[in-house]
C-alpha cells in the first residue's frame, strides 16, 4: 500500500495521464451526453450571480448545473492530489528554464505554482497584477470569445474532428508562444 502510494505521489508520465484525461470525453458523454468543457462555467457564474440584464447571460443556467458540479469536483480533486498524493520533490524542469527564471529571482520550485510570483502580497505589484489579474481577465474573456478552452476545443473539439477547434487551438498556442517568449521576459523583470 505504501509502495503504491509512493508511485502515485510521483508526477505521472504523459503516457499515463494523457490517455486518462482523454477518457474524460467518453465518460461525460456516457454519463449524460455532456460535452467535455470547463470555461462555460465562468458564463454560468455570471448568469447566476451578475446577469445585469445582459442578453448573453439570460438563459436557464440551472440546466447546465452539471458543469458546475464538474468544476467543483476538479477543485476537490486538486485538494486530494495536493494532500494525499502530494509530490514532496520540487518540480523537475528543463535546466534552461530553471536558469532563466533564476535570473528573474524565481527560484522556489517546491510548489506547482511559483510562490514568488503568485501570492497575495504580489497582487499589489505591477508584475503580480499583470500575471494574476490581467492574465485571469484574458483567460475569461478569450475563452468565451473563442467559444471554449483547452478542454472544450483542443481535446473535445479536435477529438470529434471539428476544424473550428483546430483553428482555435492553433490560436491558443500562437498567443501562448508570443506571450511566453516575447512579452513575459519583460514582465518578469518588473517588480
Amino acid at each position: 500500500m505504501d509502495f503504491l502510494l509512493e508511485i502515485l505521489s510521483r508526477p505521472w508520465p504523459w503516457y499515463v495521464a494523457g490517455p486518462l484525461i482523454g477518457l474524460t470525453v467518453p465518460l461525460l458523454l456516457l454519463l449524460g451526453n455532456k460535452p467535455f468543457g470547463i470555461s462555460s462555467n465562468l458564463r454560468h457564474v455570471c448568469a447566476a450571480c451578475i446577469p445585469a440584464r445582459i442578453p448573453f447571460f439570460q438563459y436557464d443556467w440551472r440546466k447546465e448545473s452539471w458543469n458546475l458540479f464538474f468544476a467543483g469536483g476538479i477543485f476537490i480533486g486538486g485538494i486530494l492530489a495536493g494532500t494525499l498524493l502530494r509530490n514532496p520533490e520540487p518540480v523537475q524542469m528543463n535546466p534552461a528554464l530553471t536558469a532563466e527564471l533564476a535570473s528573474y529571482g524565481v527560484q522556489d520550485t517546491s510548489h506547482l505554482m511559483p510562490v514568488e510570483l503568485f501570492n497575495f502580497h504580489a497582487l499589489l505589484t505591477l508584475r503580480g497584477f499583470i500575471l494574476m489579474i490581467a492574465g485571469g481577465f484574458l483567460v475569461g474573456f478569450g475563452t468565451r470569445y473563442a467559444g471554449g478552452c483547452t478542454s472544450g476545443h483542443a481535446i473535445m473539439g479536435i477529438s470529434s474532428l471539428q476544424w473550428p477547434s483546430v483553428v482555435a487551438t492553433c490560436c491558443f498556442m500562437a498567443g501562448g508562444f508570443i506571450m511566453a517568449n516575447l512579452v513575459l521576459p519583460y514582465i518578469l523583470r518588473l517588480l
Binding site: P11, P19, L20, F36, G77, A134, V167
Partner: protein, 147 residues
C-alpha cells in the same frame, strides 16, 4: 416559492459529474499540467511533456468517439450519444489568441484554475474572479466585437 419556469438544481443526479470532476482534477494535478512551470516549458519548446499529455488525450478521445459511433454505445439513460457541431466564427481566432496570452501569464486554463486553488494556491481565487470578470465583459460588449 420557485422562479417561474426555472429548473431546480438537484444534487443527486449531479453527483456523477462531481465524481468525474474529482477524477479529472487529480489527473490535472498529477500530470502537472496545472503547473505554471510546465506551461512555460511548453511555450518555450523545452519539454515534450505537455504535448504528450494533450496529444495522447486527443487520440484517446478520438478513438473513444469512434468506438461509441461504430458500436452504437448509448448513454447510461439509454440515449443516443450526440456531439454538437461547433461553428466557425472569427472569435475562434481573436478569442483564441487572447486566451493564449492569458494562458502563458497565469499558467492556467479554466479547468486548472479550480485545481490550482484546490492544491492550496489560494491566491488563484483572485485569478478566477478576474476570469469571471473577463467573461462578464465579453458578454457586455459581445455585439460590438467581430465574430
Amino acid at each position: 416559492m420557485t422562479n417561474a419556469g426555472a429548473t431546480r438544481v438537484a444534487f443527486w443526479p449531479n453527483v456523477k459529474f462531481l465524481l468525474a470532476g474529482i477524477f479529472f482534477g487529480i489527473l490535472l494535478v498529477k500530470a502537472e499540467v496545472i503547473s505554471w512551470f510546465r506551461i512555460q516549458e511548453m511555450f518555450r519548446l523545452q519539454s515534450f511533456h505537455m504535448y504528450g499529455v494533450i496529444g495522447s488525450a486527443v487520440v484517446t478521445g478520438m478513438v473513444s468517439l469512434w468506438l461509441i459511433r461504430i458500436l452504437k454505445i448509448r448513454t447510461l439513460d439509454g440515449e443516443e450519444v450526440v456531439v454538437r457541431p461547433k461553428k466557425f466564427t472569427w472569435g475562434n481566432v481573436y478569442g483564441g489568441l487572447l486566451f493564449g496570452l492569458g494562458w502563458a501569464l497565469t499558467g492556467a486554463c479554466p479547468g486548472p484554475l479550480f485545481a490550482q486553488i484546490g492544491t492550496g494556491a489560494v491566491v488563484v481565487i483572485v485569478t478566477l474572479l478576474s476570469a469571471i470578470a473577463g467573461t462578464w465583459c465579453y458578454g457586455l460588449i459581445r455585439d460590438k466585437l467581430p465574430h
